[in-house]
Symmetry: C2
Subunit: 161 residues, 2 copies
């Protein structure tokens, strides 16, 4: 596995994300690393990340799918066109299926791979495993970030859509 | 609008949820109230609930859809069969479409309504508005909670599937 997480290479203005931003001290700080044709992240939910007692909150699991999915999209775009550097994707659609209750108290493994990569959008499939059991399946559609979500560079022109 | 939120009537073992549990001090404590044929919740994200700077994290928005959706399902089941009291639903599937970037710094309105209610499952549609602009659309499938997710009552028999 690549020891370096792609989030470590996100530029600062992509690094405030609650799910995966290295500059967000209150967030989840998810880290996604390449492992062959997939990317992998590991995350141990906190005791408060509860749904029913003993099980992980579905909104947290959706968040892990979301951020890991965007990491997969960013990584795929970077490998396809390394000369462009890190490109920004935002989530356009998120589908999560809870196939098995996810137990609290174990480290989760989030795996994702790119399914489609186009000029405008990327589609990623993901799954979350607890002790090797697949608990969650997900699909994320990301789009390259529109100009209205970018802040203009210091001294630069604004960048409307 | 009904002044009482349905989460206030959830039994204790449904009330630890990170998204809407009144007994989870670290959680979001979402409250969903009946307003005609819909249910409504209001939530103001914290500054740390960021995606790109200035916009709300998609995982949080998915969480709001999830918990509000289950509140709508619970409310619909209670109205259909009040003699059963509050029934437990868990999320089986969650679909979220981000139709417009959601600005940080405003109170969000989450609206949901029941689309289908069967013996085993419920389907809910939801949307999130910021300053009246629809930013998120969601669909949640809930199932009545299987026995393996319930803890046996004190002194009672276990409740396997």
């Amino acid at each position: 596995m690549n020891p370096r997480a792609i989030q470590e290479d996100y530029p600062d203005d992509m690094s405030h994300c609650y799910g995966c931003g290295r500059l967000n001290p209150d967030g989840l700080q998810l880290k996604s690393r390449r492992d062959g044709e997939e990317m992998v992240a590991r995350f141990r939910p906190k005791p408060g990340h509860t749904s029913m007692p003993g099980f992980v909150y579905g909104g947290l699991l959706a968040s892990l799918v979301d951020c890991h999915g965007m990491a997969v999209a960013t990584d795929a775009a970077l490998r396809a066109r390394p000369e462009r550097g890190i490109e920004r994707f935002v989530t356009a659609a998120l589908e999560v299926t809870y196939v098995h209750p996810t137990p609290l108290g174990v480290e989760l493994e989030i795996r994702g791979k790119i399914e489609e990569l186009g000029e405008r959008k990327a589609v990623v499939s993901a799954r979350i495993l607890a002790d090797g059991v697949e608990c969650v399946r997900g699909r994320v559609v990301g789009v390259r970030v529109p100009g209205t979500m970018s802040r203009p560079a210091t001294g630069g022109a604004s960048n409307p859509e």
